[in-house]
Symmetry: C2
Subunit: 352 residues, 2 copies
Amino acid sequence: MTSRYWSDVARELSPYVPGEQPKLGSLIKLNTNENPYPPSPQVSAAISEELTRLRLYPDPNSERLREGLARHFKLSVDQVFVGNGSDEVLAHVFLGLLAQDEPVLFPDITYSFYPAYCALYGVDYEEIPLSEDFEIRLSDYRRLNGGIIFPNPNAPTGRALSRESIRGLLEHNTESVVVIDEAYVDFGAESVVELISEFPNLLVVQTLSKSRALAGLRVGYALGDADLIEALDRVKNSFNSYPVDRLAQAGALAAIEDQAYFEEKRLAVMATRDRLVADLQGLGFEVLPSAANFVFARHPEHDANDLQQGLRARRVLVRHFDATRIDQFLRISVGTEEDSAALMVALRELIG
Amino acid sequence: MTSRYWSDVARELSPYVPGEQPKLGSLIKLNTNENPYPPSPQVSAAISEELTRLRLYPDPNSERLREGLARHFKLSVDQVFVGNGSDEVLAHVFLGLLAQDEPVLFPDITYSFYPAYCALYGVDYEEIPLSEDFEIRLSDYRRLNGGIIFPNPNAPTGRALSRESIRGLLEHNTESVVVIDEAYVDFGAESVVELISEFPNLLVVQTLSKSRALAGLRVGYALGDADLIEALDRVKNSFNSYPVDRLAQAGALAAIEDQAYFEEKRLAVMATRDRLVADLQGLGFEVLPSAANFVFARHPEHDANDLQQGLRARRVLVRHFDATRIDQFLRISVGTEEDSAALMVALRELIG
């Protein structure tokens, strides 16, 4: 590769590496935090109905979907932004809101896409170390900054902060945007959406990929003051007028509106998680308290990379991050009860 | 709007304004260059089959779709990049390839998203005037530059350049990337895809929105030397790992593989265009020679904005650009024969 034609930006990037998406079937896939249950049956129905209109551009502003989200969260439609997965939404957040003179703050152990966005847009950042027991210490974020972002619950630790502790941060941090990335919030953490009316600098990002089981459809959204949403709209309209296709707009709306199905499945995932934690502890694992659809666990006597390889040989995929402080942990997505049982069989073979 | 929390980038943007997407039915929609025919029936079939897998992330690299495109164009898979519509592909092209020290060159009258990308990424650019009769004069592009981009056929004029004339440009311009935006090429212009093997700095961008009738599905792609494609991949993987959802990957592949349907429909559009041009000329319009699925026309005695408003009142949408040099033109998408007939009825009422 010569790269003689690349821009300086292209040369200097550190792209994000997503979890493996195996093409072979019959693997037990606990490596990318997908929901083990299918989406609401209303989703397929809505998408099938939309198939007759594919020749026409989608609504560039996703009005019906945004109205549905606004109704669901008791916000107004100008407080809602939607994008092609929460990854795209976050990219626009970094460029439109977090590209400031002062560095943006995020945890040293967190969603590893954040530094990739910073490299893409030349955003200065500072990583704030988690505590010894892998908690976000909000007192460490009380310093001059160009913005603050972290997931709640955090990834890949699964640990959550309370709404009141985030309120405390917002009361002190009024001069820059605070982004709470709630990708996993529906599995047991407290959302801060209800604080949006109080804090004009609070932006909440969520996704339909996890609790709504639509990872394959790519829809994420941001909720916040209309002024913050307008910045995202301006970036979006300078990037891609139609980021959410017709089928995604229709399917996402159907998923949001089927609240009963959503409640049933998220509670099922949480129940399986709690049993999985107990099973792992029974095998000697230390498991961080999880409010997400994954657990973060290490075994005092077994190397994490060896365990991941051993599980892979037994057709169970989990994720291992070869990164400082967490290289002895495995991140294990919560699947079905059958997935947990298969995982435990494989782990017992490895750990015995 | 206070905008106190926006980044400088967000403050200084000049977002693109897409054509109107009316929510009411029963309008004759000749304003956004959509295909009047539905996509291949294979598309719905492929999408329906994929609906059972929505809970799982899509292939982040769209391998099967890229393999299908590579087969179709007789390229290798590492010469193919796909994205969420050609608008997203173009955005990555501007950041990954065209953000250079020297200005990028494009026509003064062209796809109006190009300057929006430049504002988004701080790319310097120079607009090269079209000739008096609205042609791209390639001799004007023989100057120091950080890249060259134009649509072929150009939009909104519809005028095309020959493959040999673009070869001449490439022979002279070897130090920067030349991007040919072939959104409309299937309606009668010569593609330069076959020149990719000769010129490592040639990138061709196409879309499934027009000739494949999939505007609602959002799939575009770039074809070029593997080195250029790698730059786009690096940007994409720093922006959004999964830009093309499962349904879009499946539907796009089905559309590419149904070549017979594609040929039938693009020839139908071209035949309707040629009759429409004759009809408009019969009413006294000057019509630029079009190799696209739209025509660009002005009437010596009737104001273009008045005509657009008059057509709208008669439920026919066409596009008018309030821009220097072209404010007396209408851009009229080619629809069905019935659409043309309705347009002509309305125009005869207005001009009669």
